[in-house]
Structure formats: C-alpha cells, structure tokens
C-alpha cells in the first residue's frame, strides 16, 4: 500500500512539475517584459503618519529606454525621469534643472517609496540572472501557484536569491520575496488584479514592501497599459525632459 502511495505521489509530482522552472521563469519574463509599452499608474506611498499618491505616465522601449512623467500631486507634477541604458536623469520643474542619478544615489528611495531607483533601473530578465528550481506547488489567493526558488548566477545582482509564487495557468508572479546573501528576507512584492492584456497576463496592482522597515509599503496601481505602441524617438532625449 505504501509503495502504491509513493508511486502515485511521484507520478503526480512529475505531472505537476512537467514544465521546468526555467521554462516557467521565461514565461514570466515574457509576460512582464515587452518591446515597448505605455503605462499610466498611481503610486501610493504609505508613510508613518500619512500616505501620498502620485500619478504618472511611463513610456518604455525594450529594456534600455524609459521615460516617466509625474502628473500629480501639484508638488511633483512635471517631474520627469529618463533612463537610457544604465544612466538615469531626473528633471525637476521647481528648479528647472536636470540631474543625473549615479553611483550610490541610485540606491536611494525613489520619490520616498519602498523602491530604489536601482530597482526601477533593473532591466535584465530573471532567467538571465538566476537559476531556478521548483520547490512546491500550492495555493495562493485562490490560485494554484508554483513556488520557485531563484539563485543568482551573476555577481552584480542586488538580491542573492529570490522566491517566486507563480500562477500555474497565467505565469504571472503573485508574490516575490527577495533575500540577502545571509537568507534574510529584505523585500516582498505582492501582485494582484491580474488582467488579460492582448496576448499576455499582467498584474495591475503591485505592493512593494521593505521587510526590514515598519510601514505598509508602496502600492502601485496601473490604470492603463498598452503594449507595442508607437513611441516617438525624441521622447528618449534629455531635451524632452524640459518640454
């Protein structure tokens, strides 16, 4: 009887993990990255005493060019960011100055959120940076998910290991835990409100939480997203920051 149970479990496991972890991660990368996209979103930063919400529109081409403009609140309206490969510039309308964010400044919090500029700049796909292994298949938020462990295969990566809970059907992560080399959990990213956009699934609500800090983290809600749009080349120039 014991042997039969063992064989059934083995067969079930083989069926469940019929896709390799790498294939799953590549599908996740395919869902989350695009040749180009235009995305309008709101970002709510929960502070100790109050929360503030910023709205923005972002234009992205491949993994090397990105332009983002903040639309509200009034204090941040007109602030623009331009990313070209590994360089980032920020234009502030109040000072009418463009500054380049480089070196250690990239590790600072972006607009006071739980994300750093570097987090925003990270453009490599997961399968390029990590090896993956399926640890389990379980339920999360009413969905069946693969629990996948990622371990860094390159040195210049911020998080030595990650754990992903990937929707078995849609191949969108529902949760992403990012760890230090010591195994200390540093950040948790929660994805929800997964919607079908063209031929892909995309999470419309993302919560970033620095697990070492108190607070409710930073919530990003996508209000609209369009893929494969025609984006004018001049948008990705420093001159466009001042317009």
């Amino acid at each position: 009887m014991k042997n039969i149970t063992l064989i059934i479990s083995l067969i079930f496991s083989l069926t469940a993990f019929s896709q390799t972890a790498e294939e799953i991660i590549k599908k996740v990368d395919k869902n989350l990255t695009a040749d180009n996209m235009v995305m309008a979103s709101s970002m709510t930063i929960h502070g100790k005493r109050n929360s503030r919400t910023l709205t923005s529109i972002a234009y992205t081409v491949g993994d090397e060019k990105a332009f983002q403009e903040y639309l509200s609140p009034a204090r941040d309206k007109g602030t623009k960011m331009l990313k070209l490969e590994d360089k980032l510039w920020i234009y502030s309308p109040s000072t009418d100055r463009t500054i380049q964010i480089a070196g250690h400044m990239l590790r600072q919090s972006m607009m006071g959120s739980d994300m750093s500029y570097e987090d925003m700049m990270e453009d490599r796909e997961l399968h390029e940076m990590y090896t993956s292994e399926i640890l389990a298949k379980e339920g999360m938020n009413g969905r069946e998910v693969y629990v996948i462990e990622l371990k860094a295969i390159v040195d210049d990566v911020a998080y030595h290991s990650q754990k992903l809970w990937v929707d078995c059907e849609r191949f969108v992560p529902l949760q992403q835990d990012q760890f230090a080399k010591s195994g200390q959990l540093l950040k948790r990213v929660s994805f929800s409100d997964v919607r079908r956009v063209d031929d892909r699934w995309y999470p419309f609500s993302i919560v970033y939480k620095d697990m070492l800090k108190q607070g409710d983290g930073t919530e990003m809600n996508i209000t609209s997203i369009k893929f494969d749009q025609e984006i004018k080349e001049y948008m990705f120039t420093k001159a466009a920051l001042k317009q």
């Binding site: 040195d155 200390q184 540093l186 620095d210 800090k213």
Partner: protein, 389 residues
Amino acid sequence: MLALKLAIRNLISAGLKTWLNVFVLSLSFVLLVFYNGMIDGWDRQAEVDTKAWEVAEGQYWVPGYDRYNPFTLQDAHQELTAEVQQMIATKQLLPILMREASAYPEGRQQSAVLKGMDVSQTMLKLPLNDLQNVADPASAVIVGRRMAETLDVEVGESFLIRWRDVNGAFDARMFMVVSTFDCDVASIDAGQIYLDIEVLREMCLMSDEASILVTDLEEAPELAGWDFKNNDFLLSDMKALIKSKRTGGYFMTFMILLIALLAIFDTQVFSVFRRQKEIGTYIALGMTRRRVVSIFTIEGATNSVLAGLLAAVYSTPLFIYLSKNGIAFGAMADGTGLTIGEAIYPYYSMGLIMTAVLLIVVSATIVSYLPSRKIAKINPTEAIRGKVS
C-alpha cells in the same frame, strides 16, 4: 609724573562718575578675555581630541574620496600594496575600511557608515579592543554614545544591519553592541558603526582593502596610489568654524567696548567744558597747551588702567575657577555636531591678556585725546572767565 598725579586726583574727585566708566570698561575687558579664552580653549581641546580620536598626524585617502560626499564612499577602497602592509605591520599606519549601510533598530531605518578597524590598534583612542574576546566577533560592533542614542540601543542589545558587497549584492544580519564610547569628536560618532576590519572585509568581499590610512608619523612619506592629507587640511574646516565664532565674539565685545569708550568720550567733552577755568589757570601759570592736553588725555586713559585693575580683582578668581572646572555645555554640545566637549576649559594666554590690555588702553587713550584737542585752541583769558563755548 605731575600729569599722572593730577589725573588720578581729578579722577578720584569725580567719584561715582569715574567708577561707572571704569566698571563698564572693565566689563568689556573681562568679556574680551573671557570670550577669546573660551574660543582658544575650544580650539586647543578640539585639535587635541580630533588628533587623538580621528586623524592622528594625518591620513592617506583613496583618490576620489571626499569625506563630505557620502556618494564617494562606494568606490573609496583599494588593495593595500606590500609597502603599505609593511607599514601597517610596524604600526605606522592604521587602515580603515568604510562602507555605507543601513541599520534597522526595531524597524526604523537609519543610514550608517560601517568602519572596519584593526581591533588591536592603539594609534587612536577608539576602544576597538572591546571587540576582542567576545563570543561572536563576526557579529560584534561598537558605537559612540550619540549613535547609541540615535539607534536607541544599549550594550548587549542587537539590531539588524544591511549592507552591500563589492558587487552590489545585499546582505543583512544581526549585530550586537558590545560597548559604547564617549568622545567629544562628533564626526567619529554620529552615524558610525565600528567593527573588526577583517570581519568587514569578509562581509564586503574586500580582502586586504582599505579606504583610508591613518598615520602617527610626523613626517609622513609619499605613498603611491594614496593622497596624503595633513592636519592643516584635516583640521581646516574645524579651525575655520572656530574662527567664525571668534569673529562673532569680536562684534559683541566691540559693542560693549564702544559703550565704554562713548562714556569716556562724553566725560572728556564734559570735563573740557566744565573745567575751563582750570584749563585757563594752567595755561596762565605757564603750562604749555600740549601739557594741558596730555593731562586730560592721561586722565581719560587712566580710566582704562583702573578698569584693568578692577577687572583683575573680580575676574581673576572667576577665570581660575573656569579654567579648572570648565564651562559646561552639556546636551547642547551634542546637537551641534561639532567637536566640542561637554565642558570647555578656557585657555587664557599671556598674549591674549596683553592684547586685551593694549587694545583697551590704546582705544581709551585715543577717545580721551580727541575731545582734549580743543584745549589747544582755547584762549586762556576767555577760559578763566568761563566764556569758551
């Protein structure tokens, strides 16, 4: 001599008016010596403490490092050459590795600089030897009193530190405070966490690397690949700040001195007007106008001599007490971020006292002379009749 005798006699006969002038002038004298003595004491104390705790006789920096720009810390590290290693072995150099980090005491994020130093060092007064003989040296740190207050941690308590290795990968773990230290040099305390340099090198994958080298050699040699910063440079900002405080003090002293000198000037103007008959009589009896002017000038200047004597009477015990017990600044000193002790011990040099005496005597003599010049134009006949306007 006659002029001096007359001057003193006239001053004493003027009674309360003289003593009021003398008292106000003595106040400016005391204030001048007190304030500059305090600044000199602060200057000496800050220099001695900064050398003892932070800079010794100078530092070698990795090219590109700027102590006022934390963004330069990321790249401020390089491997030590054989020559440098040799000097470290003979205790001529003390290597310090610095890395940016974040401390998380009870869920609060606090920026910090991790400073790795040799735990057996004796060049600086930092008590790194407290990191020896602990149960887990890899997780032991020491912090200054200010940093302990900022982090709200006590000896024996632990908190989480997050840092990045040389490749930028995050790492984090708990560290325990094994001791705290108290020093006047705020720049080595606020925002700094000290640990064994070998532990930090391992944490950051920076074997045999350092960010700065401290030396106690009075004649520091050139080291290839390192920028030497002598104490003229390292202490220059502190000196400039103290100088600015001294300038601020000059203004206050000048105002009080001005009040005292105005009082002397007024008294002199009044004396020349009120004592016309006396002036006329002096000239009529054969005294030259110049001599009469000098009597009045000496009279005014004697105010400053009396002020000096009066100041010496009441300020000497005060100055002796302050130089022994110091002037306590307490918690106020901490908030400034300056190298300033909880108590400043004023330093009264002979040069300072002589400068103050000279300044007050000369300025009192000048303001005494200016109104007295009118005497040179007085007609003695009209003066005796009291008709000089």
